[in-house]
Subunit: 197 residues, 2 copies
């Protein structure tokens, strides 16, 4: 169990992610996952410890990718607007890059068992803090206005997370375009330039 068997384990997790996304974590059975790989349910246990372990792997893998990305953005010394743009772009790329895992990450993390659940929530908060940091920067640079930072971050992340609900890899919008539109939307909103009344 060093390098070769990892490959099969990754296949299992990939198939599981697809099914967890389609049917939900509880509704997708070990027999379903096994069937999608053409093997018996019991055979899965040569590679994984439990169904819960699969969910944990998916959720923490995604969390790791996102955290790494936001840390990198915050470490590089750019202005706040650029940082926000990069953070959005990274998030969109990661999410659209693996829609199955992302959907599970966003919808099914609640089904994690207690000790892992707490750990996961900690990572989530860390990610949110990464965005808060950018908003603080923006205020110091006098380019952002966000009295309630927690609220602003939640609203921004809602748009980012909601992508898993509608993004279609075969659709006409590329991840880059989504990121661009989203950044523009977050920065300027709907109203046209001129203020009136």
């Amino acid at each position: 169990m060093q390098t070769g068997s990892n490959s099969r384990k990754e296949q299992i997790i990939e198939s599981a992610a697809k099914l967890f996304r389609e049917k939900g974590f509880e509704a997708a059975s070990m027999r379903d996952i096994a069937a999608s790989l053409g093997i018996e349910a019991a055979s899965l246990y040569s590679h994984i410890k439990s169904k819960d372990e699969i969910l944990e792997t998916i959720c923490f893998s995604m969390a790791g990718k996102l955290l790494k990305a936001i840390d990198e953005v915050n470490d590089i010394y750019f202005n706040a607007e650029e940082k926000l743009g990069m953070a959005v772009k990274n998030h969109v790329e990661i999410v659209t890059g693996d829609m199955d895992a992302s959907s599970v990450f966003i919808r099914e993390w609640r089904r994690l068992k207690k000790p892992k659940l707490k750990e996961f929530i900690k990572l989530r908060n860390k990610y949110e803090e990464g965005f808060t940091q950018i908003l603080v920067n923006g205020e110091n640079e006098n380019v952002f206005e966000a009295p309630d930072k927690k609220f602003a971050v939640l609203t921004i992340l809602s748009a980012l997370n909601w992508i898993t609900e509608w993004y279609d890899p075969k659709g006409k919008m590329t991840p880059d375009e989504i990121a661009e539109h989203l950044t523009k939307f977050i920065l300027t909103g709907l109203r046209v330039k001129t203020l009136h009344s």
Copy 2:
């Protein structure tokens, strides 16, 4: 089964909504729902036809409330900015008014069985169209700028739906304040008034 028994049925649906929210539709069993009411699982079937029926009732009840609200907004003859503000306010009020049902409505609708699922998606699309209509009005009035209307609506709704993930009735933010902040955020975004560079 005319008016009196409805009361008990509503109690069941209310208890079920709470559990569906906490544990998810599949993880919350009929025995769990019954236990939370102090009765046996089999007794539930004097009042409801099936577990699926409970989910359907919750999802379609919420959909009905939201659709009614957006239709009212679009029927009343105001300008687009006012309409958007009212639509947001109504949505926030409905969602925060019943967090259990709302969470189920947003997270668990996927578990609806096939004929009902299609019906539900139709209602969802109708609601989205209600918002699109407002954006179209705004463009005609020359106060909104949204080249990709579908994208804009999805982004707005993401913020509205995400409320179920963080709103705390005991928190310091009232539904009205949330609606106000959200409307402002959608209309003007983060950037401060003056454009620079």
